[in-house]
Symmetry: C2
Subunit: 312 residues, 2 copies
DNA sequence: AGGTCTTACGACTATCGTAATGATG
DNA sequence: CATCATTACGATAGTCGTAAGACCT
């Protein structure tokens, strides 16, 4: 709110008359009179000469009025911008995501978001899952698109989509023979126990794929022998194709990589919990901005479609 | 005074910590906390994200802080200028005076004033006495240097100097013969009654010299026959020299005109009140500014000296 | 336990409106 | 006497500080 003093003084100056100004300002005339006197007392200088023809600014008054007008203008700009902010005509949003999701999931969401809110500046922060979580906690990232599990209890999230992990098997490996089908299954299964004591190709420990893989293998009580470490699941997949070991790959990645120069992918039994979830994550402490809420809404509309791959 | 909101928000932003900011601002920490919350509520937008590492401005907050700083800067300028005004390091003063006094009395005062207060803008308004009085009432002139009598009771004044009016007599006129001297008199006297029924050269009715002259002649019960009207006493004086009539001239004017091509000047009896006063005049209603008071002081020191003419 | 921010409550002060007073034309 | 500014006074609302609560490290 604009300080009353400024409005009062400038309006009195404008009308040269306290009564008229009071009417215009919707205050009682004595109140305005007192207010002007108080301001003058506080400043230690007369702002108006009370002449028989009304109130006319003194030298000090002229200076005050000039500056008051400048200040009022700034206040009005501020108010306009705040109404813009609350109407989403301006704002800023930092979205954090992993490298893979940055190219896979984000583009569609961003396209929808910027179409709907073209005046919101979007900044994308890419990094590994744990790094993004850290950024969310610090408040440098407003919203993250990540995969569960999220163990950090400073972060809350909503689940968008659950996705299976598949076992990548070298095409030449004998265990291909033992693949089987299940009722209602989307494809061939294989028993992960067959890979016990066999080498695995893994991603780095800070990567969510590695964390999920580790968990699955733990569930299967398989003591992993890491053979290669890579940052990219796609690389891991190719290494499997070259018969260098096994790896676990999220379903969407398999589909995305296509069938050229790929290993064989098999579902594995539910008991090992071979899945992760795509989630939208926020700080638990920092209240959601309007922009964040809108982003959430758009993400919820957009993302599930991405997993309806065209049949090939 | 600078609005608290601005200071509060910017200080909190500066420290990123309400406790520290509260300490710095000499307010209780809960008060500051509440204050920030209230401001946010009023604006309808969060200004700070409360993160584990302290308070960090949101997008809206950044904008607010930026503008708040601009506004604070303007307020500070305003404060500085007001302190300048009260220390007479700046200001404006409108001085009104008659044409004659503008060249006779004013230069010395102005020189002293501007030496002492070089930063005060001085504006000089010249006009006839009644015009200047009008300007004083309207507040367009702060201080007037005028001659009494001032009949306008909206004006108050302090007397600087009293001055006699002298009768100007053509050198050839027979009444020169009847001049006489008095004990303690500064010069020759003449009986103004000798000019009864003789023509007079007068100034315009709006001029103070005319008003004083009229009064003196009334006091002497002389029914005037105006022969010529002029705006300048000097012109009148010359016309007297040319034997075209009589006129009454203030003493300082006589001395100023010098003796070349002058009529003869005679004192006249006190009973006709042949004098006026030099006064500094102000509006009764408009309180005196500091500059006006200082001007008054300097005028009181300066003006009396002007009437100590060097003996010639 | 020590730090932080927020909520609760009582006290105070500033500002308002109505009414009365003063000043002016 | 009509208009305008100022002073008087009671009511109200905003702001403060102290104390207590909530939360994180």
């Amino acid at each position: 709110m604009i300080p009353k003093e400024l409005i009062y003084v400038t309006t009195v100056a404008q009308y040269g008359n306290i009564s008229k100004a009071a009417e215009r300002l919707f205050v009682a005339q004595p109140s305005l009179s007192r207010c002007i006197l108080r301001i003058e007392r506080d400043l230690g200088a007369e702002l108006f000469k009370r002449t028989s023809e009304g109130l006319k600014p003194t030298f000090a008054g002229e200076y005050y009025i000039e500056n008051a007008n400048k200040i009022i203008r700034l206040y009005k700009e501020l108010e306009i911008q705040f109404s813009n902010i609350s109407n989403m005509h301006m704002g800023r949003l930092a979205v954090g995501t992993t490298t893979h999701l940055g190219s896979f999931a984000l583009p569609k969401i961003l396209a929808n978001f910027t179409t709907r809110f073209p005046k919101i500046e979007l900044s994308i922060v890419e990094g590994v899952s744990t790094g993004i979580e850290e950024e969310i906690l610090k408040g440098r990232v407003d919203v993250g698109i990540l995969h569960s599990p999220i163990n950090n209890h400073g972060i809350k999230y909503t689940v968008i989509h659950e996705e299976k992990f598949l076992l990548a098997v070298p095409p030449d490996d004998p265990i291909n023979e033992q693949a089987y089908f299940k009722d209602g299954g989307e494809g061939p299964y294989i028993d992960i126990q067959l890979t016990a004591d066999r080498p695995y190709i893994l991603t780095h420990t800070s990567q969510r794929t590695r964390q999920v893989t580790t968990k699955i293998l733990e569930n299967a009580k398989i003591d992993v022998k890491p053979r290669y470490l890579t940052k990219s699941i796609q690389t891991a997949s190719r290494l499997v194709r070259d018969n260098l070991g096994f790896t676990l790959v999220p379903l969407s990645y398999c589909k995305l990589f296509g069938s050229a120069y790929s290993p064989n992918y098999y579902f594995i039994e539910e008991q090992y919990q071979p899945s992760w979830e795509l989630v939208i994550a926020y700080s638990k402490d920092i209240p959601l901005s309007k922009a964040s809420k809108e982003f959430n809404k758009i993400a919820l509309e957009t993302l599930p479609q991405l997993y309806d791959f065209p049949n090939d």
